[in-house]
Amino acid sequence: MRVCLDEGAMSDRMCPMEEEELIERSKQGDLDCFNLLVERYQRQVYNLCLRMLDNTHDAEDVTQCAFISAFKGIGRFKGGNFRAWLFRIAANGCRDQLRLLRRRPTSSLDALPLDLELEDRRAPSPEEYAINQELGEHIRHALAGLPADQRLAVILRDIMGLDYEEIAQSTASSLGTVKSRISRGRARLREHLRQYVELFP
């Protein structure tokens, strides 16, 4: 393990250590092992925070704090889905940040434009590109308009691609609650998007 780290090989490809082993070593205070876990999950945790907070600066702060909290509290992780556990810490951080922003609203310039992925691989025409960007902005606003619980459930399901069971673990709620939140969140998004675009029949 040490040799692996000394060589600077921090990725899964070069240092194929099992997740359980990394977690166990992290519990014993091995920061290098925990950093391997950070590298494995940082993209997903960051994207969850980014879509929840709609602000790159806040998303970076909350992501960093989530990993620090995770390292400090990894002794309390009793096994199971590590990704869901990380998402739960990040989601709690996002909720706290949203509460703080509600108390002290700021007009941030750090909102990242949401460029939707294109359906086909050919280069888009300028018109398609503009429509795509506009649609991305509407989705961003529609997501920001959802209540935090529904937004979290929809992001975890439709953007992060988690299954219902994992979402229930990440949000510490029952399967029924998850179903209901996703259903209501999607319905609200549809109503919001209907105001802007003639997408629907």
Partner: protein, 197 residues
């Protein structure tokens, strides 16, 4: 009474209410249906209903469109790494806490001495109560140390114990302790910021 309402009319209304109830129930099942979260019997029920109900079919199509759009939201690469930098264990907070308590105690003592001095609480032990300057001139010469003692006591404001020296010493202690506490606190904050990245 039933004679006033044709039987067909009642049946149509009953059918309408039944359909409306079914639609309401189905709306909550469309999202799990898209995600494959329904049991086979529920799936059959949904499919049977949307074959007959245009409104619910449109509802399902629009929900699918929303889900399709959300699937196109890209995963963004973070601008920096969130790995945690290794640091020596931070022992400053313990020292900082002790220093803060010590500073607070010193400040309280200083305030007490100042207040006592201002309110003349220490005047009971005044030197002139026990010995007057006239006695000095009558019994001793200025060169035998008594004159120096008198000057010293004059600086002390005539108190039996050195209140002014105590005040000066306490002020020094407060300045040193306060300065150390502030500098340690700033260093700890910088360190914490660096850990957070």
């Amino acid at each position: 009474m039933w004679n006033f309402f044709p039987r067909d009319f009642v049946c149509i209304y009953r059918e309408m209410f039944k359909r409306k109830r079914e639609c309401k129930k189905l709306k909550g099942m469309l999202s799990p249906y898209i995600d494959g979260q329904l049991s086979p019997s529920e799936v059959k029920g949904v499919e049977r209903h949307i074959e007959e109900c245009d409104a619910c079919r449109r509802e399902l199509e629009s929900l699918r469109a929303v889900v399709g759009l959300l699937h196109r939201v890209p995963m963004v690469a973070p601008r920096r790494s969130f790995t945690i930098a290794a640091r020596a264990p931070i022992r400053r907070p313990v020292a900082l806490r002790a220093l803060r308590v010590a500073t607070a105690v010193a400040v309280l003592m200083l305030v007490f001495v100042f207040a006592g001095d201002a309110l003349h609480l220490f005047e009971e032990g005044r030197v002139e109560d026990r010995s007057t300057p006239q006695e000095y001139t009558a019994t001793s010469t200025p060169m035998d140390g008594e004159g120096l003692d008198t000057e010293l006591k004059a600086f002390e404001g005539g108190y039996a114990w050195p209140v002014r020296y105590v005040e000066l010493a306490l002020m020094g202690v407060v300045v040193v302790l306060g300065g150390t506490t502030v500098s340690l606190w700033q260093r700890t904050r910088e360190r914490e910021r660096a850990v957070k990245g």
